[in-house]
């Protein structure tokens, strides 16, 4: 809402500078986004009076104008053919900063010779003053403009651009902002004086209004003004409309807009002669059509409220008028509507047609039905005064929605309960009174507060408390720390778990990423991810579905980064969203990581080496080790990963995830050029319950262990994990390390050797060689029996 300070001054004494007023409005809830000065740059620009106009000796289209500036006369070259002797115009002296029509930039006016005649100044158009983009001729000021007055004093203004919050319909008006200004600066505001003569016939002879659907229309007021002359509105009104961001159109339309801006209540003017019999019905639409004033034929449905004449809809209630009854240049009689409609209905209708008009924006925020009559009288007055009309006697006022509002009880206890401080009763009364609330003292500690009709947002004691706090200033309230009991905190296992996993992976040198949870259909389809949930209003096709897998997100980030990173090691912990019948989706936490490119950077002590499967697996082993979980890996298949280079991650016999080499065909589809790329994925919700909390500690071994190295010859396709399992399950074995794997010429084909270093240890004694030999022999026998492994000497 753009508010002219000059306009505000009609109703309140603005006693503080505009910036200070803007600050106070902002702090109390009406945020001022900008303070624009109209005329701040108008130095050396004044009101002039054209005394004579002579032809230019050397140019047919130019004239020489002599201008009186109040004790001083100047003659300048003038190119506008419409300038007349005796016009009041805007004169710029040399040194004035004017807007250049060619590039829109400010330029200082210099003395010039035009076709041989010296010209020290110029007569200005709106564009040169930066008031509008229009170059249509020079500005002609009203005849009473004081000659020689600086233009900034005559028509300068300051405009406050206020972001009005959705609860404050009343502040979408000059009077509302004036009321706030008064309360914030300790002044009293006045209302417009509305007086006019009703010289016409009784309105009831010419107009009748019927409300069929009182649930959607709470009040309908109408006045009738005959013998109006359509023409431009006065210049002062146009200026205020422009300052408020509206375009002047004609006196009638401008008056309805002006009064809407002033009171915050929309109005609509019908051409009375186009309403058969002057009959107005307010009703739900039948399935019918209406061409609105923006020239669009609209199909209106039975849930929308319309204003109708005898036979058809003539306006969409609260949203936009219809063409058939629109005011035109030939209009002579106006039926002026000022009504109150159901806010939700106006909002739905305006949304259905994507028409957010100034009217609908006000109605949907909730206006008081009381406002309609005051507003209608003000607009009728202005039409009588400015468009030469004759008002009919009386006003039609159909008001089925009258409702009394009960006073609100405000106790000291409540104020203290919410704000934490005591506020004296007389102080509360004073603040509330400046805002128009009526206060009755019920007792020393209780007020009964009448809410003024325009404050549709106030209905509870806390609403009043906010009024008191915001006008007094939030900075007046002290700061205290929470002193109440600290609730018992529950630990949230998944949250803690996610943080733990992130920290471990970061410790393993991996970089965390956070990607969009919205992806395109193709992103998921390429890897055959489960069917995703779609959005009905996506921002783009790339973000049309909730992901059912993190793999595409991670792969896309490999592709984005591989060009500038020699090695990549990234992971994300995020949600996937799976469909669930009759319920919100199943949101599951997934860990997905990927390694690609070089393991080590090029460095004097290191040779650049490519990552391989065991890098990815090493990270996972460190992860599980750190989580205190025994993990197994078993070869498996996965559609995204290369067969034979993929392992299921198994904890407690349950598959919690997978690790493997990304299928190069799939990599290519995600524009990844690195090869190979390794990927792992863990279902965090499956893993979490398998994590044991830290158990009791075990004693550090007091007796030395005995270390034996063995080398086993076995078939090449026996998984090392099976050997390891047998060794680990052997009595007295406390540590096992695989320190060599060999395949090659020195062995029979199809064979390999695995070399283990094994520590045997007992908690209560030093083991003898004999004991160790016995245990190891038994183990070797089992290895031979189950895996055909032979001890290699």
């Amino acid at each position: 809402m753009k508010v002219s300070v000059n306009w505000l001054k009609d109703y309140v004494d603005v006693s503080v500078p505009a910036d200070e007023l803007a600050h106070r409005l902002t702090m109390s809830g009406n945020e001022v986004e900008a303070v624009d000065s109209v005329g701040a740059s108008w130095d050396n620009v004044l009101v002039g009076h054209v005394l004579t106009l002579e032809p230019h000796p050397d140019a047919d289209r130019l004239r020489l104008a002599t201008v009186e500036l109040g004790g001083e006369q100047m003659t300048v070259v003038c190119g506008d053919p419409n300038v007349k002797v005796d016009d009041k115009i805007v004169f710029a002296r040399v040194g004035a900063k004017l807007i250049d029509g060619h590039n829109g930039k400010a330029r200082e006016l210099k003395p010039a010779k035009i076709r041989g005649i010296a010209s020290s100044g110029m007569i200005c158009s709106e564009m040169e003053l930066g008031i509008s983009e229009s170059h249509d001729g020079i500005i002609v000021l009203p005849a009473d403009a004081p000659i020689g007055m600086p233009l900034a004093d005559y028509m300068g203004d300051t405009v406050l651009d206020i972001t009005v919050t959705p609860n404050r319909a009343d502040c979408l008006s000059v009077l509302g902002v004036a009321r706030e200004t008064a309360a914030l600066t300790g002044k009293t505001m006045s209302m417009p004086t509305v007086e006019y003569s009703e010289l016409g016939d009784d309105i009831n002879k010419s107009v009748s209004v019927q409300i069929d659907d009182a649930d959607l229309c709470y009040r309908y007021c109408a006045s009738l003004i005959k013998d109006v002359k359509i023409g431009p509105s006065p210049e002062w009104m146009q200026r205020r409309l422009i300052a408020s961001g509206m375009r002047p159109i004609s006196n009638i339309v401008d008056i309805t807009n002006y009064v809407m801006l002033e009171y915050g209540q929309p109005l609509h003017a019908f051409d009375y002669n186009k309403l058969p019999g002057g009959k107005i019905t307010v009703r739900r639409a039948k399935d019918e059509k209406l061409t609105t004033i923006d020239d669009v034929e609209r199909k209106i449905t039975s849930d929308m409220l319309v204003i109708a004449d005898d036979s058809k809809a003539i306006a969409l209630a609260g949203v936009m008028g219809g063409q058939s009854s629109e005011v035109s240049d030939n209009t002579t009689s106006i039926l002026l509507e000022c009504a109150n409609f159901n806010r939700e209905n106006v909002r739905r209708t305006s949304q259905a047609f994507k028409m957010r008009s100034e009217a609908s924006l006000r109605f949907e925020k909730g206006l008081s039905p009381e406002l309609a009559l005051y507003t209608l009288r003000r607009a009728t007055q202005l039409i009588v005064e400015l468009a030469g009309g004759v008002a009919a006697k009386g006003i039609v006022d159909v008001y089925p929605g009258r409702a009394d509002r009960l006073p609100i009880s405000l106790t000291d206890v409540k104020v203290k309960q919410v704000l934490g401080i005591d506020i004296a009763q007389d102080e509360m009364v004073m603040v509330l009174a400046t805002l128009g609330f009526g206060c009755k003292v019920k007792s020393k500690s209780e007020l009964l507060v009448e809410v003024p009709y325009w404050r549709t947002d106030v209905s509870l004691p806390v609403d009043l408390i906010e009024e008191i706090a915001r006008i007094t200033g939030y900075d007046q309230i002290p700061t205290t720390l929470l002193s109440s009991e600290i609730p018992q905190n529950e630990l949230h296992p998944m949250l803690t778990f996610k943080d733990r996993v992130r920290d471990i992976l970061v410790g393993c040198g991996m970089q965390e990423i956070i990607t969009y949870s919205l992806v395109g259909w193709q992103d998921l389809a390429k890897i055959g991810a489960p069917d995703p949930i779609g959005l009905i209003n996506p921002l783009s096709t790339d973000q049309q579905y909730l992901r059912t897998s993190l793999r595409p997100s991670v792969m896309m980030k490999i592709a984005d980064n591989e060009k500038h990173e020699p090695g990549l090691s990234i992971f994300e912990i995020g949600r996937t969203y799976l469909k669930r019948d009759q319920n919100l989706p199943d949101e599951r936490e997934i860990l997905c990581g990927s390694l690609a490119g070089q393991r080590t950077q090029r460095q004097w002590q290191l040779r650049p080496e490519h990552v391989d499967f065991y890098d990815a697996k090493g990270v996972l082993e460190t992860l599980f080790d750190s989580l205190g979980v025994r993990v197994n890996f078993e070869a498996c298949d996965d559609a995204t990963l290369v067969s034979g280079r993929t392992a299921a991650i198994i904890v407690d016999k349950q598959v919690v995830g997978v690790v493997g080499q990304l299928d190069p065909h799939i990599a290519e589809q995600y524009d990844i050029s690195s090869d190979p790329v390794y990927l792992f994925e863990i279902k965090m919700d499956k893993l979490l319950p398998l994590i044991r909390s830290m158990g009791e500690y075990s004693r550090i071994a007091r007796f030395p262990g005995s270390t034996r190295d063995i080398s086993l010859l076995l078939d090449i396709d026996v998984p090392s994990s099976k050997v390891q399992d047998i060794i680990e399950d052997t009595k007295l074995v406390s540590e096992v390390a695989l320190f060599d794997v060999y395949t090659g010429d020195k062995l029979p084909s199809g064979k390999k050797t695995l070399a283990y270093s094994i520590v045997y240890q007992a908690p209560d004694r030093t083991l003898t060689d004999k004991e160790v030999n016995k245990v190891q022999d038994g183990m070797l026998k089992r290895l031979q029996k189950t895996l055909a492994a032979v001890l290699r000497q």
């Binding site: 702090m27 959705p166 806010r343 309230i477 009991e485 990234i570």
Partner: protein, 341 residues
Amino acid sequence: MLDELNKIKDSATLELQGISDLKALDDWRVAYMGRKGKLTQVLRGLSDLPIDQRKAVGSAANDIKTLLEAELKGRQQAVKDAKLAGGLDAIDVTLPGRPVSLGRLHPTTQMVREICDAFSAMGFEVVEGPEVESDYYNFEALNIPKDHPARDMWDTIWINRDQTIPTLLRTHTSPMQVRVMEQRQPPVRVVVPGRCYRYEATDATHESVFFQIEGLAVDKGITFADLKGSLFEFAKRLFGAERKVRFRCDYFPFVEPGVDMSIDCFVCGGKGCRLCSNTGWIEILGAGMVHPNVLKGVGYDPEVYTGFAFGLGVERILMLKHGIDDIRHFYANDLRFLKQF
């Protein structure tokens, strides 16, 4: 027997003089005093001697052992000293060290933790909630009925609109206020980090996906002054004790009174610059006292209980703290960006 002992002593002493490295010294120790060492064996053989000799031989053997141990110690020290006397070869200490690969948390995660930690220290519990929400939790239970103009404050991405349970991507973390209160009785103190979504075209300052942190405290006797105190404390912890903090009136349907909290601009110190749009202040978060309708909706008696709530944008705070000019960096995940945090 005593002769034999003396021979051992002499040969051991002699041998010791010739040894100049620590490994050989240990071998020497094993050869004489180890489990199968020469001196050890003599001592083991003591029991075979007649009683009258036992004492003398035993005592002599122990003296020799003490002597040899002392000499060994002296010799070890001499060897170590000799080694250090020659000095160690110099290396180029300016050569780069062997790299240890370093990972980092995403800056958003870091900031979420920093903020949650600040509130945990004030007794707030961290909880999470669903990102796909019903219209009820996202709007209605928060005092934002259907067709209310306040809905314009949250441009919404919908999953379905017209079915019995309209669902959407939560536009804020506030629905968790309701979910948490439905599940427990006061006192309540929680913070809720999480992803939120808005139907908003992405540009340098707008993202359709972002992280928010919600806070809620409800109990008997919680006041606006407590809200101010808690959030001022938080702002000073996050932005520095020298920052000025201010509360101004603002509107959110689920709080009353409503608050917008700002800090003085750390670029211009409040004089006015581009960052603060010449106001001298930077908006940090929205807050307020929990609206009685919200409390009533979850079965809390607003005459008995009061509370405050707040919500802040994580990326916005990161951008302010680090002077990041484009919000899109957070989801682009360019490692050249991420590695800076």
